[in-house]
Amino acid sequence: MLAYIVRRVLYAIPILIGVNLITFLLFFVVNTPDDMARMQLGAKRITPDAIEKWKAERGYDKPLLYNSRKSGVQKLTETIFYEKSVRLFAFDFGAAEDKRDIAHEIRMRWAPSLALAIPMLIVGLAVNISFAMFMAFFRATYLDFWGVVVCVAMMSISTLFYIIGGQYVASKLWHLVPISGYAGGLDAAKFLVLPVLIGVVGGIGSGGRWYRTLFLEEMGKDYVRTARAKGLAESAVLFRHVLKNAMIPILTGVVVVIPLLFMGSLLTESFFGIPGLGSYTIDAIQAQDFAVVRSMVFIGSVLYILGLLLTDLSYTLVDPRIRLE
C-alpha cells in the first residue's frame, strides 16, 4: 500500500506541472503583463513608465516561457513561468498583485468555505440517501414514478434559481434568516442555514436519482433475494443489506469531493456574501490576478489528486476484495 501511495504521489508531480503550465498558457493567452499592470494601476493617468515599473517590480518584465537572451539553464529559469511556478511546489504562494499575502488570505477564508460545504455535504448525503431509499422501497409504484419526475424537474432547474428563489422566499417574504452576510463562531449558523438548505434542495434531483439507481441495482442481486427468502422485513433488507453494499460507490463518490470542499462554492459564496475561497477565486479571475488564480488552481489540483488517492484507499476499506498493488 505504501509503495502504491508513493507511486501516486510521484505521478502527481508531472500532473501538477502540466496543470500549472496549462493555467499559465490559458491566462496569458487572454492577458498580457501590460493588461495586468493596467488593471492594478487603474484606468486614469497611467504612464508607460508606471507600467514598466510595475512589471519590473513583480518580475513580469521577463519573457513568458523562454529567455533567448540568457544562456544555459537560465534560458528557462529566467522566465515568468519558472519564477512564478517553482515556489508553488513548496506551497509558497507569495503575494497577490494587490500585495496581500495569499497564504494569509487562504487561512482567513478556508473556514467559511468549510462551514458552508461540510453541512451541505453531510445533510445533502443524508437527504439524498433517504429520498433514494424511499423511491427504491416504493419502486414501480406511483410514489417512485413521481419521485423520479420530481428529481428530473429539480435537476433541470438552475442553481441560480434555487438561490434567488430561496433568498426571496425565506429572507424577503418570510424574514426568517438574513439574506446574505457572514459572521464567525456560532453566529455563522443564521447565515449558513439558507445556503445549506438551498444547496441540499438543489442537489436532491441528481443525488436522489443516482442513488436510487445504485439501490435498485443492488436490490436485483442474489443476496437480496436470499435475505427476503429468509423472511427479513423489507426495511431490514434495505437498510441492513442493500444500503451497506450500495455505499461502496456512494462512499467513493463522496471521498473524492471531500478535499475539494476546501475550495468553496463559487456561486453560493458570491450570492450569500460568504467570504470563502470560492469567492476569492472569482474575485481573482475578475481582477486578472494571476498570482491568486495560479495558486488556487494549484491547490485545487493538489486536492483533487488527494481526493482520487483517498478514493482508491477507501475502496480497500469498504471492499475487502480490493487490494492496492
Binding site: 487572454v30 492577458n31 498580457t32 501590460d34 493588461d35 493596467r38 494601476l41 486614469k44 493617468r45 497611467i46 504612464t47 508607460p48 513608465d49 508606471a50 515599473k53 517590480e57 503575494a95 494587490d98 500585495k99 499575502d101 497564504a103 494569509h104 488570505e105 482567513m108 477564508r109 422501497f137 416504493f138 409504484t141 410514489l143 434567488i164 433568498q167 426571496y168 429572507s171 424577503k172 417574504l173 418570510w174 424574514h175 426568517l176 434568516v177 438574513p178 439574506i179 446574505s180 452576510g181 459572521a183 453566529d187 449558523a189 443564521k190 447565515f191 442555514v193 422485513a233 423489507e234 426495511s235 458570491s270 450570492f271 456574501g273 467570504p275 469567492s279 474575485d283 481582477a287 486578472q288
Partner: protein, 696 residues
C-alpha cells in the same frame, strides 16, 4: 424535525427580528450601515484613485483643503489648512509658489506607529497579532513635515502614484527626485526625511511651501485630494517591519490619518469598519448652502459638531439582489439604484420628473438626484481615413459633414430614455454641468446638432443629417464614387448578453442614414490596447472629473495629449491648432469673463469639428431611508459621512415593523410534508403485512 424546531428556537433567541445580519450587540447603536461591491485595491493615499477606495480613505485622511459640503458650484474651503492658499508668481512667472499653513493642535488617530517600542517588534509578536490595534497606541500632533513626507512619497520608486507623471511636470525637482530615490531604493524602509525635495520646503513646523514650474491654477484642487494628505513617517516605518506584510499589515491596507474616522476592522472580503477618531480636531456642520438646502432640511444641524455617526460598517455585497433587498429591509441606510430595480424604486412623470415609487414612498424612502461631473461619449478616431480629421481642404470638410450627420442621427435622448431610465442629460459639448464654462439654455446648445425651439433644444431632423451625408460624398449611405455602401466600425467592450439590445440600438442609429455599422466587441484590455494604438474607428468612452475645472474636461481634446501619439487622455487623438493654442492659454487662467470667452470659443471649435458624438452627462440617483439626514450628493468628494445623521430609534422601530418573521408558511410546509407522508406510511405498513404471493 427536532433539529428544525431547535433552529427556530435559536433564531427566536436572536431578538424580535430574525433576519438581522448584524450582531445583536450593535442594535440601538449610532452606526451607519453601507456596503461595497469591489475589494479596494489601495488605501494608501499615494496610490488610491478610485471612488470605491475614496469612501474609506477620505474619512481617514485629511488633505489641506476640502469642498464645501452644500454649496454649488463646488467651492474649496480649508480643512486642515488655515486658508485656501493663493498662488504667488515668482521670477516673472517662471515659478508659482503655494504656501500652506496648517492649523496647530490637530492630532493623529491613535496608532501603534506612534509608540517607539512598536518599531522593534519580534517576528513572533507580529505573527500573533490579529490587528495592529492590539498593540499599545499613541498619537502626536500633525505637522507640515507630514505633508512634505507624503508629497515626497508621490515619487517613491516602489509606490506607483498615478499622479506622479503629472506632478513631476509641475513640482520643481520631482522628476530628478524620483531618479535619485530609484538609486537608493532597497527592500526596507526608505526614510524620505533624509532626502530633501527642492520644490517642497518646510517654512516652520506648521507651514510648508510648494513651488511649481510655471503656472498651474488647478494645483489647488489637488490639495483637496488624498494624494496630498499627510502621512506620518512613523506609520510607514512601523508597517515596513519584517513580518508585517505577511499579515497584510501595510500602510496600503491600514490608513493612518487625522480625519473624523479611523479604520479599525479591515477585512475586504467581508466587512470594513470605521470608528470615530477620539483625537479628531473637531469641525462643525456648515451653516450655508445653496438655494433650496434650508427647505430640504440640510441646514437643520448648522453649527453642530460633526461627525454625528459613531461607527460606519461597510459590508461586502457582490450581488445586486441581496444588496437591494437588505436596503428595503432597512439593513442599509442608503442605496444606489441599478437599472434592474429602477422601475421598482422610481416613478418618472410625463414631464420627466423623478420621484420614488409608491412602494418606496410607503416606507418613507427619499430620492436624491444630481448630475454627475462626468461625460460619456462616442469618439471618432481623428487618425481614421474615413471619419477622422487629419486631412485638409475638401476631404476634411467631407469628413466633418459625415461626423455631423452621424451626430444628428445618434439620438442621445432616446438612448438615455431606453438604457439609463432617463438618468442623464444629453451633452452639448465636453464640459459637464456645474463646471465653470458650462452654459445652460439657448446659449449652451450645440447648433450643429440641435435647434432651439421654444424653451428647449430639439435634435435636427434626420433629413438634415441625410443632406449632410450626401454632401460628405455618401448619398443614401453609399460612396458616391464607387457606389459601395459605407461600412463603419464601432469598437466597444462586451460585458454580456445584455449588451445585445444596446448594440442593436447603435446599429439602428446608423441605419437611419442607411449606413452599415459593424460592432467589434472585445474585452476591456484589448479595447484599451486598440485605443492606445489608434486602430479604432469609432468607440465609446467616458470621463469622470478629478476636479471642478473646465481644464479637466477640455484637456480630453488637447492635441499634445493624444492617446496614440503620447499616451495622454485625448483618446480620439483630436488635433486642432487653434483649440490647442487656446487650451494652453485657458488652462492657466483663473475663472473670469475672459476665460469664459476662450472656453466658449474652444467648445465651438470642438462642436464644429465634432471629434465626439457629445453623449451623456449621467444623473446619479440615490435612495435613503427616512432615518438618515443631511445626505447631499457631492461628485467631487467622498468625505461626506461626517455630515450624515441617524435617527437610531426610528430605524430600530421600522426595522422591527418591516421584518417580523412570518411563520405560518413554515408550519404549512411541515403539515403538507406530514400529510404527504401518510400514503407512504400506509403503503409501507400494508407491504410489511402482506402475505407472500404465490409464484407465477
Amino acid at each position: 424535525m427536532r433539529i428544525f424546531l431547535i433552529f427556530l428556537l435559536f433564531l427566536s433567541g436572536c431578538g424580535e427580528v430574525w433576519n438581522d445580519p448584524y450582531p445583536a450587540a450593535e442594535r440601538g447603536k449610532n452606526i451607519l450601515y453601507s456596503s461595497f461591491a469591489e475589494r479596494p485595491k489601495h488605501l494608501d493615499p499615494v496610490q488610491s484613485y478610485t471612488e470605491d477606495e475614496a469612501r474609506f480613505t477620505q474619512q481617514v485622511y485629511e488633505p489641506p483643503l476640502q469642498y464645501h459640503y452644500l454649496k454649488r458650484p463646488y467651492e474649496l474651503i480649508p480643512l486642515t489648512a488655515t486658508e485656501v492658499p493663493m498662488p504667488r508668481l515668482i521670477e516673472g512667472g517662471k515659478f508659482t509658489v503655494y504656501e500652506i499653513r496648517i492649523r496647530p493642535g490637530i492630532r493623529y488617530q491613535p496608532h501603534p506607529g506612534f509608540v517607539a517600542a512598536n518599531h522593534e517588534l519580534s517576528g513572533s509578536r507580529i505573527g500573533k497579532l490579529g490587528s495592529p490595534y492590539e498593540l499599545p497606541l499613541g498619537t502626536r500632533e500633525l505637522t507640515a513635515d507630514d505633508y512634505i513626507y507624503q508629497i515626497k512619497r508621490l515619487a517613491h520608486p516602489r509606490l506607483h502614484s498615478p499622479i506622479f507623471g503629472l506632478m513631476a511636470e509641475y513640482i520643481v525637482g520631482m522628476g530628478q527626485y524620483a531618479e535619485r530615490l530609484k538609486k537608493l531604493s532597497s527592500s526596507g524602509w526608505l526614510d524620505l526625511r533624509q532626502h530633501p525635495l527642492k520644490g517642497v520646503e518646510r517654512v516652520d513646523s506648521h507651514t510648508f511651501r510648494v513651488t511649481l514650474n510655471g503656472s498651474y491654477p488647478q494645483f489647488v484642487y489637488w490639495l483637496a485630494m488624498p494624494f496630498f494628505a499627510p502621512v506620518p513617517w512613523e506609520a510607514e516605518k512601523f508597517f515596513e517591519q519584517p513580518g508585517m506584510a505577511e499579515k497584510n499589515f501595510t500602510l496600503d491596507w491600514w490608513p493612518v490619518g487625522t480625519g473624523p474616522y479611523m479604520l479599525t476592522e479591515n477585512n475586504p472580503n467581508a466587512r470594513m469598519v470605521l470608528e470615530r477618531n477620539p483625537n479628531f480636531h473637531g469641525e462643525t456642520y456648515p451653516s450655508e448652502g445653496e438655494r433650496g438646502d434650508a427647505e430640504a432640511g440640510l441646514l437643520a444641524d448648522a453649527g453642530q459638531p460633526i461627525p454625528f455617526v459613531d461607527r460606519v460598517v461597510f459590508s461586502r455585497e457582490k450581488e445586486m439582489i441581496p444588496y437591494w433587498n437588505k436596503f428595503l429591509q432597512g439593513y442599509y441606510d442608503i442605496s444606489a439604484i441599478s437599472s434592474d430595480v429602477f422601475d421598482q424604486a422610481v416613478r418618472v412623470s410625463l414631464e420627466g420628473d423623478s420621484t420614488v415609487s409608491a412602494e418606496m414612498e410607503e416606507k418613507g424612502i427619499r430620492l436624491t438626484t444630481s448630475v454627475a461631473t462626468s461625460t460619456g461619449y462616442v469618439a471618432f478616431n481623428w487618425d481614421d481615413p474615413v471619419v477622422g480629421g487629419q486631412k485638409s481642404g475638401e476631404p476634411a470638410e467631407r469628413a466633418r459633414k459625415l461626423r455631423h450627420a452621424i451626430s444628428i442621427a445618434f439620438d442621445v435622448e432616446e438612448q438615455i430614455s431606453i438604457f439609463a431610465n432617463g438618468r442623464g442629460i444629453a451633452a452639448q459639448g465636453p464640459i459637464a454641468p456645474g463646471i465653470f464654462g458650462y452654459r445652460e439654455g439657448r446659449e449652451g446648445i450645440n447648433p450643429h446638432v440641435y435647434d432651439w425651439t421654444g424653451d428647449k433644444p430639439r435634435r435636427k431632423s434626420i433629413e438634415v443629417a441625410r443632406k449632410l451625408l450626401a454632401e460628405a460624398g455618401y448619398p443614401g449611405g453609399r460612396d458616391a464614387k464607387s457606389g459601395q455602401p459605407l461600412v463603419l466600425y464601432l469598437d466597444t467592450v462586451a460585458r454580456g448578453p445584455g449588451d445585445k439590445s444596446a448594440f442593436d440600438w447603435y446599429r439602428r442609429q446608423f441605419e437611419k442614414l442607411d449606413l452599415q455599422l459593424e460592432i467589434r466587441t472585445t474585452d476591456w484590455n484589448r479595447f484599451q490596447e486598440k485605443i492606445r494604438k489608434g486602430t479604432t474607428q469609432i468607440f465609446r468612452l467616458g470621463w469622470n472629473a478629478d476636479y471642478p475645472d473646465p481644464e479637466n474636461f477640455l484637456f480630453l481634446l488637447h492635441g499634445p495629449q493624444s492617446r496614440a501619439r503620447s499616451q495622454g487622455e485625448n483618446a480620439a487623438n483630436y488635433v486642432n491648432a487653434e483649440y490647442d493654442a487656446l487650451f494652453e492659454k485657458m488652462k492657466n487662467m483663473a475663472n473670469s469673463p475672459e476665460r469664459q470667452r476662450i472656453i466658449e470659443r474652444m467648445v465651438e471649435i470642438a462642436r464644429r469639428d465634432a471629434p465626439w458624438v457629445w453623449g451623456t452627462h449621467p444623473k446619479d440617483y440615490s435612495l435613503r431611508h427616512v432615518w438618515l439626514a443631511n445626505d447631499k450628493p457631492n461628485n467631487m468628494a467622498r468625505n461626506g459621512i461626517k455630515y450624515l445623521k441617524l435617527d437610531v430609534e426610528k430605524r430600530a422601530a421600522l426595522r422591527r415593523e418591516w421584518n417580523r418573521p412570518v411563520l405560518w408558511p413554515v408550519g404549512l410546509i411541515v403539515l403538507v410534508l406530514a400529510l404527504s407522508a401518510i400514503p407512504a406510511v400506509v403503503s409501507y405498513r400494508r407491504r410489511e403485512r402482506m402475505a407472500a404471493r404465490p409464484a407465477g
